[in-house]
C-alpha cells in the first residue's frame, strides 16, 4: 500500500536558530488514525503545519505519493470568525474554493448536522460553549470533504466529559468518511483511545522516539475506555513517552 503522505528526513529550524523538530521520517497510510504524542514544545504542531504546506521545512521533503489530498485543519483554538454565524463559518472553505453559494450552504448545513449542532446554524461564536465552538471548527474542516484531517490538540482546552464526547464523535466521523487523521496531543489516554498508531516524539527538537500500533478489532466506546486492554495499551504508550524523555 502506498502512503497517503510521506515525510522524508524533514526538519525545521526557525529564523532565530531554534530547532523545532527533526530530522524525522514518517509515512501515513490512507485510513490510519495517527497520533503525534509528545511534550509541549516538541515541535509536533510545527510538523502539522509543514504537512499542511503552511510552513516550508528547512530540510527534507513532504510528498503525497498519489496526489495531494484535500486537507482539513483543526486548530487548538476553535479559530472561528466571530462576525460570522456558525453556518457562515462552516461555509468558508467552500466559499474560498469558489463553490456556488446555495450549494456551499447546503453542504455546510450537512456538516453542521454531522457534528450534532443542528439548530445552531444562525448562532454566533460568542453564543456557543467551548465544546460547541470546537464542533463548528470540526464541521468547517469536514465541509470541504477532506481526505486528510490534521488536528492540533483540538480538545486540550475542553473539560473531560466534553472531550470524551468529542473523541467518540471524531472516531465516528473518521470511520464513516474513511478519513486519514493526524492528531497532535500530549495526552496518553486520548492518543491511546483514538489512534490506530501512536508516534511518540522526544522533547525539542522533536524526533520520533517510538511507534506503537494499536489494533483493536471492535469499535471503541465507553466500555473500551474501562477495559483491561485499554489500560495495558495506555501503560505501554505511557512507558514509551517516559522513555522518550530520558
Amino acid at each position: 500500500m502506498t502512503a497517503l503522505v510521506s515525510l522524508v528526513r524533514i526538519a525545521k529550524t526557525f529564523e532565530n536558530g531554534t530547532q523545532a523538530f527533526g530530522p524525522l521520517d514518517l509515512a501515513v497510510d490512507a485510513g490510519q488514525f495517527v497520533s503525534l504524542l509528545g511534550p509541549s514544545g516538541c515541535g509536533k504542531s510545527t510538523v502539522l503545519r509543514v504537512i499542511a504546506g503552511l510552513l516550508a521545512p528547512s530540510a527534507g521533503t513532504v510528498s503525497f505519493p498519489q496526489s495531494r489530498p484535500e486537507i482539513g485543519f483543526v486548530f487548538q483554538e476553535p479559530t472561528l470568525m466571530p462576525w460570522r454565524s456558525a453556518l457562515d463559518n462552516v461555509r468558508l472553505p467552500l466559499e474560498l474554493k469558489g463553490v456556488a453559494r446555495a450549494d456551499a450552504e447546503m453542504r455546510a448545513r450537512e456538516a453542521i448536522l454531522r457534528v450534532g449542532l443542528q439548530g445552531f446554524e444562525a448562532a454566533f461564536p460568542r453564543e456557543l460553549s467551548g465544546g460547541m465552538k470546537m464542533r463548528v471548527s470540526i464541521a468547517r474542516a469536514l465541509a470541504a470533504k477532506p481526505k486528510l484531517l490534521l488536528m492540533d490538540e483540538p480538545f486540550a482546552a475542553l473539560d473531560e466529559p466534553t472531550r470524551q464526547a468529542l473523541n467518540d464523535d471524531l472516531l465516528k466521523l473518521w470511520r464513516e468518511d474513511g478519513l486519514t487523521v493526524i492528531f497532535v496531543t500530549h495526552s496518553v489516554f486520548e492518543s491511546t483511545y483514538l489512534s490506530t498508531r501512536v508516534v511518540v516524539m522526544t522533547p525539542r527538537p522533536g524526533r520520533i522516539a517510538a511507534e506503537i500500533s494499536l489494533d483493536f478489532p471492535h469499535a471503541r466506546s465507553e466500555a473500551f475506555r474501562l477495559s483491561p486492554e485499554f489500560s495495558k495499551a495506555a501503560a505501554e504508550v505511557s512507558a514509551a513517552l517516559r522513555g522518550a524523555h530520558a
Binding site: 503552511l54 486537507i71 479559530t79 470568525m81 466571530p82 472553505p93 474554493k97 454566533f124 461564536p125 470541504a144
Partner: protein, 261 residues
Amino acid sequence: MNTALRYATPVLLGIVVLALWEFTVDHFGIPPYVLPAPSAIAAAFADNFSSLMASLWTTLRVTLEAMVAAFVGATALAVLFSLSKAIENALYPYAVVLQVTPVIAITPLILLWVGFERINIALVIIGFIVAFFPILSNTTIGLRSTDHNLIDLFRLYGASRWQILWKLQLPSSLPYLLGAMKISGGLALVGAVVGEFTAGSGTATGLAWRITEAGNRLEIAKMFAALALLAALGIAIFSLLTLLEWALLHRWHESALKKDQ
C-alpha cells in the same frame, strides 16, 4: 438602575443648573455682556435662527466631508501598510509628524495656499489632518492583529491576498476602526472650528465665525447660542457613530456585550 431613571437624572440635573443660572443672573443683576441668562440665550437663538442654522449646516458639511476624507484616506493607507512593510516604514514617521505638529500652527499656511475665497475647502483639509491619524493608527493595529491561525486557514484553502484582506482582515479591524471614528468625528469638528477662528473675518460662514462675530459685537447671548449648537453638533456626531458601532458590532463583538449577560 432602571433605564428611565438613567436618562432622567442628567436631564433633571441640566434643568436644575439652568434654573439656578437664570436665578443667579436675575438676582445679582449680572450684565448680559458678561453672562446672559438662559432665557436671553433662547431669545437670541430664536432671533438669529436662520443665520445660525445656515452656519450650523456649513460647519456640519465641512465636518462630515473631513470625516469621510479621513476615513477613506486613512483606511486606504492602513491597508497599504498591511500589504507592504516597506511602505509603512517609509510613510509612518511622516504621518506621526503630521499628527504631532499642532494643527493651529499649520492652519494659516493652509488658508494661504487654498485661498480665502475657497475657505470651506481649507477647513475640510484642516479637519482631515486632525481626524486622519487616529483612524490610520487604529486600523493599522486592527489589520495587523488578525488571528494568525485564521490567516493560515485562508491560505490552506487557497485564498487570494485580496480575499484575506476583504473577508478576514477588514472585518477583524472593524472594532478598532469604529473606535477611531468616534475620536476622529470629534477631532474633525475641532479642526473645522479651529480653521475658522484662525481665518478670522474672512469669508467663513460656519458656527465659529458666528461666535467670533458675536463676540466682536458683544452679543454674548448669540455667542452662547452658537456655542450650544456646536456642542449639540458634537454630541450628535458622537451619538450617530456610537449607534453605527452598535449596529455593526452588537451581534458578535465582546465590547457590545451587556454587563448582565
